[in-house]
């Protein structure tokens, strides 16, 4: 079946060139049947790449080690769910996922706009197929997922244990969906510039895709943070890692675009800025993909030994030059139709919000690429760490939260000072009361930054709450509906507005969680023996007894580990039992025969299985690093290596587990008590919920589509 996959890749590659050529020929000659043929090429591409993806998935499910990528990233001991997700753990598989998702989302976008802005859509079709050709070309010439190997290996190397985590099954598809959907606005923006149709129509057409890309990218980033927090064993959710930053940058510029596009829609303003933001988001998206695959910067998320730097640099160079040329050559068409009427207007707040977001993206860009910049200038690579990022991003984040509270209560065009005073009185009151409470409780003395963030979050919540209250009141004055029904109807009729407000609430909740957990965290790293305890913050944590499980079948974390050593940890507060936690560390088989028959069974990368007692107010986070190198345990491995055949080696592992249970060596523990971490995830869910409301078409839009379809059919019948 590997050859079927490869042939389908070849068909897909040719299809990209045909489709792009047909779309360009059609739009240039006015023969729209060729444009339609080009669009259908995208649909066909989605179908062909689905076949490729299915072939690879089936190979992983069937443990078909004839496929090189299956042999390198999967094994019989890898649980089925993780085998399904192992497809995108390799360079080749993830390229296929990229191309496949892009073809699907592009098909959906082109299908939805098939009766609108045809000229722009035709150019967008060609550009999207160009991107697809690039990624399929990478697979064909650099990283073929259908390469086979002989002789056929008996067992595969297995999936990287760090990736055996439920979140990792959906994090990459979410992130890649965000990346690939973000390319769609880029293609339409370029199409609008090429065809000189730079009015608000293209903005209206791609708004939902920009929002969807933003939502998926945000969800992907958050799932990555969750994975980091729950799996990596360091207790943090954000480490300003190069790849994390690479996904955050396009998210920030996309956030700026989602606000500034309203200015073009409503007022015909900021056209150059909007084009620049969309193009920058697209380029940053490709740069993020480049960072993961080029091996140019060190990151836990990057593919090791990656060699795709040159093709990506070429693509990025072409994109930047083309973007600048298109914007500069169309400058006379991009003049603003209106100017700012007043500084006290929503336009001004959006402008300020855009400046802050772009400044944030720039700071992160500088910090991320600093190692490359320093290497180019001084010849020595030096990196900047979290304190550097915090110094610049924290003030900007505070400003951003403040603006997200002002935006909802200020009117378009102009607001009188009286209106401003009236609309901001309640949110400002909430801010002042919260700030006073922060000083009264001593929170401000511990961390003034956190106190200011809490107060600003209260400001946002009050501002949005006031908007909902007034909206419901206004609706009830007309409809006399009960409040819940009025609220539902209000949101249903104004999904974009209230969906956006809900997103602001989510962002405020998320920042509350970030500020609290980073400012008021208690952590302790120490060695304990059974029966001993330590105090972390207000909690006492006691190492009750060791735990051990052998063979993948009994692995309680269901990750396919050969051996799992852990601990029972009792958590109490002021003498009262709070929770019992079971942190452990999994040991996995390695394919290195030099480790011996027993050593190879547990010689892979050990992975910490964190145990968390999460709650609304705080998380108690525990991780353990058992001393598997203790002399008594090491001796069992040594003797097993000398005396046991591969088939019997697991007996030594069972003996080792028993020895660990009866004579546990001191274990290294990492305990963290963090307040309000849960609010980061709750905030993220609220953001996704709000974005989904804003994306969903309003009843008016659905009705309009149906009417337009009927009219189009009527006109078609008349013509025939």
């Amino acid at each position: 079946m590997a050859s079927l996959g490869f042939v389908c890749l070849l068909i897909a590659f040719v299809l990209c060139f045909y489709g792009a050529g047909a779309a360009i020929y059609g739009v240039r000659t006015g023969r729209m049947q060729y444009v339609e043929s080009g669009r259908r090429s995208v649909y066909a591409l989605a179908g062909v790449l689905t076949v490729c993806f299915a072939v690879l998935e089936v190979a992983f499910v069937r443990n078909d080690f004839l496929f090189n990528t299956v042999a390198e990233t999967s094994s019989r001991t890898t649980p089925l769910a993780y085998r399904l997700a192992a497809v995108w753990s390799s360079q080749e598989g993830s390229l296929l996922l990229w191309a496949w998702l892009m073809s699907i989302w592009s098909s959906l976008a082109l299908f939805l706009v098939r009766r609108r802005i045809r000229e722009v859509a035709a150019w967008a079709t060609a550009i999207l197929l160009g991107f697809a050709a690039f990624f399929i070309g990478l697979m064909l010439f650099y990283a073929d997922p259908f390469t086979t190997r002989r002789p056929l290996p008996v067992e595969g190397a297995g999936l990287d244990p760090l990736l055996r985590f439920p979140t990792m099954m959906i994090h990459p598809p979410m992130l890649y969906s965000g990346y690939t959907i973000s390319v769609i606005p880029l293609a339409f923006a370029m199409g609008a510039l090429i065809s000189r149709r730079v009015d608000a129509e293209w903005v209206r057409t791609i708004r939902r895709f920009s929002l969807a890309g933003w939502m998926f990218l945000g969800a992907g980033i958050l799932l990555g943070a969750r994975w980091s927090y729950s799996e990596l064993g360091w207790g943090g959710y954000w480490g300003w890692d190069a790849v994390e930053n690479a996904s955050l940058m396009p998210w920030l510029t996309a956030t700026a675009f989602l606000h500034s596009l309203m200015l073009q829609e409503k007022r015909g303003m900021l056209k150059v800025w909007n084009f620049s933001l969309v193009l920058a988001t697209g380029v940053l998206t490709i740069m993020g993909t480049f960072l993961v695959r080029s091996g140019i910067l060190n990151s836990i998320h990057a593919f090791g030994g990656a060699t795709l730097g040159v093709p990506f640099v070429t693509l990025i160079g072409v994109l930047i030059v083309a973007s600048i040329y298109l914007v500069v050559s169309r400058l006379p068409l991009l003049r603003s139709e209106h100017r700012l009427d007043s500084l006290f207007s929503r336009e001004s707040v959006f402008l300020a919000n855009n400046i802050v977001l772009v400044a944030l993206a720039f700071v992160i860009f500088w910090g991320t690429y600093f190692p490359l910049i320093s290497r180019a200038v001084t010849g020595q690579e030096s990196a900047v760490g979290p304190p550097w990022f915090d110094r610049y991003t924290v003030p900007l984040a505070l400003l951003l939260v403040l603006l997200s509270g002002i935006g909802p209560v200020i009117a378009w065009r102009r607001t009188t000072l009286g209106d401003l005073r009236r609309n901001l009185a309640f949110p400002c009151g909430a801010l002042i009361v919260t700030l006073a409470a922060m000083f009264a409780t001593g929170i401000a003395a511990s961390s003034i930054t956190a106190a200011v963030m809490f107060s600003l979050a209260a400001f946002v919540l009050a501002s949005v709450g006031q908007e909902f209250y007034r909206g419901v009141k206004a609706r009830r004055a007309v409809s006399h509906e009960p409040p819940p029904r009025a609220l539902f109807a209000l949101v249903q009729r104004n999904r974009r507005r209230y969906g956006g407000y809900i997103v602001h609430v989510g962002i405020a909740a998320l920042f509350i969680g970030v500020a609290a957990s980073s400012s008021f965290q208690h952590a302790s790293e120490l060695t304990l023996t059974p029966g001993h305890s330590t105090k972390v913050g207000a909690y006492r944590l006691t190492y009750v007894k060791p735990t051990a499980t052998v063979t993948p079948r009994y692995d309680t974390a269901h990750t396919g580990s050969t051996l799992n050593l852990g601990a029972v940890v009792a958590v109490s507060k002021e003498g009262h039992h709070v929770a019992t936690l079971y942190p452990s560390e999994g040991y996995y088989a390695s394919d290195e025969s030099t480790q011996g028959t027993v050593g190879a069974l547990i010689g892979g990368q050990p992975v910490s299985h964190v145990a968390i007692d999460g709650g609304i107010t705080r998380d108690v986070w525990t991780a353990i690093a058992p001393d598997i190198e203790a002399p008594a345990l090491k001796r069992i491995v040594k003797i097993g290596n000398r005396t046991l055949a591969p088939g019997d080696a697991v007996v030594a592992i069972a003996y080792l587990a028993r020895a660990y249970l009866h004579h546990p060596p001191p274990a290294q523990f990492h305990f963290i008590v963090s307040p309000l971490v849960l609010w980061i995830w709750i905030g993220g869910l609220i953001v996704v919920f709000g974005a989904a409301i804003a994306i969903w078409p309003s009843p008016h839009a659905v009705r309009r589509t149906v009417v337009a379809r009927v009219r189009s059919r009527q006109l078609g019948t008349a013509n025939a």
């Binding site: 079927l4 007034r470 009417v707 009219r711 189009s712 078609g716 008349a718």
Partner: protein
């Protein structure tokens, strides 16, 4: 087996992609006018949405009556201009359809 499957995939791709090129002229939808009408309808809906937004701003106390009147007048004038263009595009489309039919 693989050859047959690959041939099938290729066949389906060719059929799907070339369908518009095989279509007779009369079956082709009236794209230009339909597109223009669809674009103007989208613009009209966006303008209506803006008017509803302004009304909501007035009712929720973000806009004063005087500012709302000014804004509402200009938005309604813009909506009227779109409606005029929309009627013209529809009439043009219907006229062309009648001419072709004749």
């Amino acid at each position: 087996m693989v050859v047959v499957l690959a041939f099938l995939v290729l066949l389906v791709v060719v059929v799907v992609v070339t369908a518009p090129l095989r279509r007779r002229d009369g079956e082709r939808p009236p794209e230009h006018h339909a597109e223009r009408v669809a674009d103007l309808e989208a613009a009209r809906e966006a303008k209506y949405h803006e008017i509803r937004d302004a009304e909501l701003d007035l009712r929720t106390g973000k806009l004063q009556e005087r500012d709302f009147d000014e804004l509402n007048t200009s938005l309604r004038a813009e909506a009227l201009a779109i409606l005029t263009k929309l009627e013209a595009a529809r009439a043009e489309g219907a006229e062309e359809a009648t001419t072709r039919g004749a």
